[in-house]
Symmetry: C2
Amino acid sequence: MGPGPSNPYPEVMLALGKPVVGHLDPEFLAVLDSTNDRLREVFATSHALTLPISGTGSAGMEAAFVNFVRPGDPVVVGVNGVFGERMCEVASRHGAEVIRVDAVWGQPIEADRLLSAHPSPSIIAVVHAETSTGVRNDIAALGAGKGDALLLVDMVTSLGGIEVEVDAWQVDVAYSGTQKCLGVPPGLSPLTVSDRARGRMVERPTSWYLDLNLLSRYVDGGSEGGRVYHHTAPVTMVAALHAGLGVLLDEGLEAVQARHASCGKFLQDGLEELGLELFAQAGHRLPQLTTVRVPDHLPGGMSEADCRRLLLSRYDIEIGSGAGPLAGQVWRIGCMGHTARRRNVMALLGALKEVLCS
Amino acid sequence: MGPGPSNPYPEVMLALGKPVVGHLDPEFLAVLDSTNDRLREVFATSHALTLPISGTGSAGMEAAFVNFVRPGDPVVVGVNGVFGERMCEVASRHGAEVIRVDAVWGQPIEADRLLSAHPSPSIIAVVHAETSTGVRNDIAALGAGKGDALLLVDMVTSLGGIEVEVDAWQVDVAYSGTQKCLGVPPGLSPLTVSDRARGRMVERPTSWYLDLNLLSRYVDGGSEGGRVYHHTAPVTMVAALHAGLGVLLDEGLEAVQARHASCGKFLQDGLEELGLELFAQAGHRLPQLTTVRVPDHLPGGMSEADCRRLLLSRYDIEIGSGAGPLAGQVWRIGCMGHTARRRNVMALLGALKEVLCS
């Protein structure tokens, strides 16, 4: 129940055990095509260029910037947590003129501030679900007001957990991670790119590995009459992702989101009943990632790290520490994917009660 | 029996099914530390900075260049196949002045030519085992003569299959892939960096994801009194790599290499007995990756692709097509990792005989 990886779905674990076939084997290519179809459903998009990047969510972030940023481009980045900070760093390494729009950690970023930060940004970038603070930033208003800019959104912790509407929100570039609400081990980063953004891709980005021009020739061979080998696709992880997306779509996206919402509320109510204070601003709290303030006084002179160690050693439950400047101040509790079950929340609340009230 | 992925060891498949724990869980960190120790054994090195990069072999190649190339640096690259070409492309994207040393595909590159290509290169880069041609380039003489340059070697297809001596050969930067002779699914790239090279790392490379300064703070937390989170490590794939390296070390590196050598010879002798012509120059043939010329006349007017499809559909055996300019001219047959068994070679030779002599 940390901030990810979550527990994978049983169907995902079975998929990991499938025989390894070649990355150009027709059997694998069918799985890859179907994975990309399923990703389109989960992202709620018809973007042709939708694929798993062969790296974790941070590789997705890098792919999102390296393929669209040219030196000197003005890029507006919303920062209200670690992953907004990371976006600034990644954009800047690729030569962007970064215009930061900061908000207090724990609070959402107002869309108007992002939209008015620069007269003609090439990109407006924001994190949908900030894993470091448990806050949701709203996206729809950004899409409506983006003008000529590309809208680039980090959906690492949101995809599969809360409502995601890439097309309706007019998101141009979005990436996610497998190890959060998709219930798949870490290792891949689902990415989707609008046709509009595709027309503005950097022709020869510094990264060969993440070059979407080259990757699209492998995943989307149809248009050029054949797949062109790029790198050896991580076939086992793709099979796992395929299975995880299958679980989500079988249960139904709305049902999955309702499960996340109900587990999150159950957890957040339970924490408040224990006398703990939630960190994220009400109305923008993520159900899948809850931040809670560490109490000032812990029993027996325990540190917050002692508490987490005790939860892990005695109860087999992992929760996360605060990230960045929130280290020592908050705990982060994930309730994502297969972990988002009422029984898990009950077990944690029971364990926390024993640890904090002993 | 394509050019990779190979069949994973059974122990590796079991490891994929282990529970997913957090990337900062002490249990996982112990597995990661042990994985890096095992990598040092297999690379035959004492390099402190030895770790699996969270991407496939091509991500390892990118990490090897992006962390050591500064704009305008003269970088000598040996090219006698697709992966030497790829090195030129990756080095050039990171601003290197690339000095190519070409050799005929199918023949090795002479060390003297690489050593005399530039008076003071910052890097000399070469592929140890060219997966596209089945040729071994010798490394030891390069280490002895490299002078002030860093020696950067692609060991994607060599590691675990033929002799690899990173320290004895004075290799500064080497990377590999999991899906070849290590018998693990694709998805990680083992990388090792000498202390000498570590002193010349680019301070803030364009890639954040592959930044070895940051990665070393996570994998090698000891020196600074704690691990610093970078990205969510792909815990499942690391467990699989750990298991695969365990199989190699239990069998013994010499025994594993002898198994690859004997299977390769058995295969190559068998192909010649079928009247086929081997492509790679004798004396520099890789046992783990055999290239053989496609016969001029195939029965029943079959194309070479028809032959491969028949092998796959009727016999469940994958072999690879020729890569790059060798497409249509050669087949590539892998005999790597768990696939390197006499029974597999027999099955392929029997199937090929039926297909070619029917």
